[in-house]
């Protein structure tokens, strides 16, 4: 496919470098963190965001991740100033901005499908924020030109948004948002309107531009791929609450709750009762009795004996062994029957069912490995995994 993004990608050419680095320094220097302290949003009796606390470091790329209705967009719109805060404090840098209108917060927003003005050219779109702030025309046009050059749209400056490719529209929207030198950029699912191919390309470019400008980006998304590939920090939200905050790799490897484990995908989740806790230098090894399946040892921070809890194992961290197992009483193993085998290319996905409880299990393996292993559908097998692969879930 002839991609409109890569063919016209600006890159950093030497000619632009001086203007660019100056503006970059400026943007990076004033880029600020965002702090939410006990922020709550109510619509009548409905609580959309419940008492959340969040620290977003300056210059970082943070994604608010969660299913629709989890409160992530409301949170972003509260930061932007398009929604009132019911209670709590919102700080951009050191400044409490609760009661300031959007334009006075030194934040800028990039909208779903970009919301470029269709009747204005790229140049006029970028100019808009400066014009509204009564920046004198001479300075205005100099700053607009500079910004448009940096995002590599100089030759498209006179075009209307409809005549731009998706990637170019994204850069125009970014130029429009950054031209007012905001301290933080807020992105409301900017990629959701694009098709899959273009989305992967434009998100790469978004990440590159964020690094280039050294700016604080806060983005709302419902796609875990997007959050994983873009963020320094992911905030997983559910039901108006924050479930987990962490780097993408941490969220992926050690989800903190069943919800996060399910949302990041490919996890087999078990429920059981804690029957023992042993502390070691890495934290705790927790013994969990899962009824009808077996005894699992998993990693966690702390747990109380007797509490109802859960654990999860990634579907690609398990090993498949023949049935019956060598030691039927060994921990961290289960017996299941293969119900379906799907070849998806690089990965082969095997669906299984634990006959005693009816729980469905997914096992993923590299297709090249599966060729050697190839067990037919309907066969009983044993799945086993290491203690370190099994993550304790307290709720």
């Amino acid at each position: 496919m002839n991609s409109p993004v890569s063919t016209s990608s600006p890159g950093v050419t030497l000619a632009q470098e001086s203007a660019e680095s100056k503006l970059q320094q400026e943007l990076a220097a004033q880029s600020s963190g965002v702090t939410l302290r006990s922020v709550t949003k109510k619509y009548g009796s409905f609580v959309a965001v419940k008492d959340i606390n969040l620290d977003i470091p300056p210059g970082s790329y943070t994604c608010l991740l969660g299913p629709s209705g989890c409160g992530k967009t409301t949170t972003l719109r509260m930061i932007a100033g398009h929604e009132d805060i019911t209670s709590g404090d919102l700080l951009i840098g050191d400044r409490r901005v609760n009661d300031l209108p959007p334009a006075k917060r030194n934040s800028a927003m990039m909208f779903q499908s970009y919301a470029l003005f269709p009747h204005k050219s790229v140049w006029e779109n970028v100019e808009f924020g400066l014009k509204m702030r009564n920046v004198p025309p001479a300075e205005r046009s100099q700053r607009v030109n500079e910004m448009i050059e940096i995002v590599g749209l100089s030759q498209f400056a006179d075009r209307k948004p409809a005549k731009l490719s998706g990637g170019q529209q994204q850069r125009a929207a970014l130029a429009r948002a950054l031209v007012t030198r905001p301290q933080v950029l807020l992105l409301d699912e900017p990629l959701s309107a694009l098709d899959e191919n273009l989305r992967v390309k434009t998100r790469g470019e978004l990440r590159r531009l964020q690094k280039q400008f050294g700016m604080t980006f806060i983005q709302v998304t419902h796609g875990q791929d997007e959050a994983f590939s873009l963020s320094d920090q992911i905030v997983v939200m559910d039901n108006g609450r924050i479930d987990q905050i962490g780097a993408p790799a941490d969220i992926f490897r050690t989800p903190a709750s069943r919800f996060v484990a399910r949302f990041v995908g490919d996890n087999n989740i078990f429920s059981g009762k804690v029957s023992g806790v042993a502390l070691d230098e890495q934290g705790a090894v927790i013994r969990l009795e899962v009824e009808g399946i077996g005894t699992f040892f998993c990693r966690g921070l702390a747990a109380d004996t007797g509490m109802e809890a859960g654990c999860c194992v990634r579907s690609d961290s398990m090993d498949m062994l023949p049935y019956p197992p060598a030691d039927p009483t060994a921990p961290n193993q289960l017996t299941a029957r293969i119900t379906a085998i799907e070849f998806t290319g690089y990965i082969t996905r095997v669906s299984l069912m634990v006959e005693a409880t009816g729980q469905e299990i997914t096992y993923k393996v590299r297709s090249s490995e599966w060729v050697n292993q190839a067990v037919p559908e309907g066969q009983l097998v044993t799945l086993t995994w290491a203690v370190d692969e099994c993550v304790f879930l307290s709720h």
């Binding site: 398009h82 334009a103 927003m109 779903q112 808009f128 509204m132």
Partner: protein, 285 residues
Amino acid sequence: MTRTWKALQPYTLVTPQTLVFLLFLVFPILMILIVSFWDFNGYAMTPAFTLQNYIDIFTSQVSLKTYLNTFKYVILVWFFCLAIAFPVSYFLAFHVKNQKWQIILFLLCTVPFWTSNIIRMISWVPFLGKEGLVNQLLLGLNLVQEPVQWLLFSDFAVVLGMVHLYNFFMIGPIFNSLMRIDRNLITAAEDMGASGFQILKEVILPLASSGIAIGSIFVVTLVMGEFVTVRLMGGGQSASVGKLIATQIGSLQYPLAAANAVILLAVTLILVVGILRVVDIRKEL
């Protein structure tokens, strides 16, 4: 043979409309065009090719005044329709959040169309007349000592009647174009510090321009050919090209009426082309 039939089949869908157009629009207009060059006297018209009808119209003070008066109506009615319709559409599109109410209120705007034009025009008479409700009220409140004369059978009454008749033709297209504006554009403008007035000027008006243009075309073409309202609401006092043509037909001056009709058509087309030049309405279609 069958292949030709297959290729022609879709055209059968538009054949009835084409025939109606040809028979009742194109053919009569051609007839009018031809007749406008004919000669006539007090009793009969005779086929000829004379420009005398056109020369008479262009040199007559009366017809010139009538044309100017018609333009006056067009401008006034257009202005008041726009001034009333834009705020109404804006209210419906941006302030009524509930879709059900939006539909109900929009349908409310069509209420004037539920009775016939003539009845609606006549019902202004007891309201605006010398002994009408308005005058009674003004007299009763001692605001005036004598009945106000210009309320009925005047240019005021004509413009009032036409604004009342044609306002909806402006509301419809403007409402439609406002409804298509992506609400994110307005939030984006707010985000960049635009005030309410700036949003209106920089975002909403430009994006509503095609709707305004379509509404204007409706109103301008309707008022250009107006005749019933001018006659009923203007009494004998007001003149328009439409009414002039009707009078000429009444006195059997068919070729003169035809020439006026041709000029009126040409002027209206020029106005429409002018509007289309200013505003690109393609995105609305």
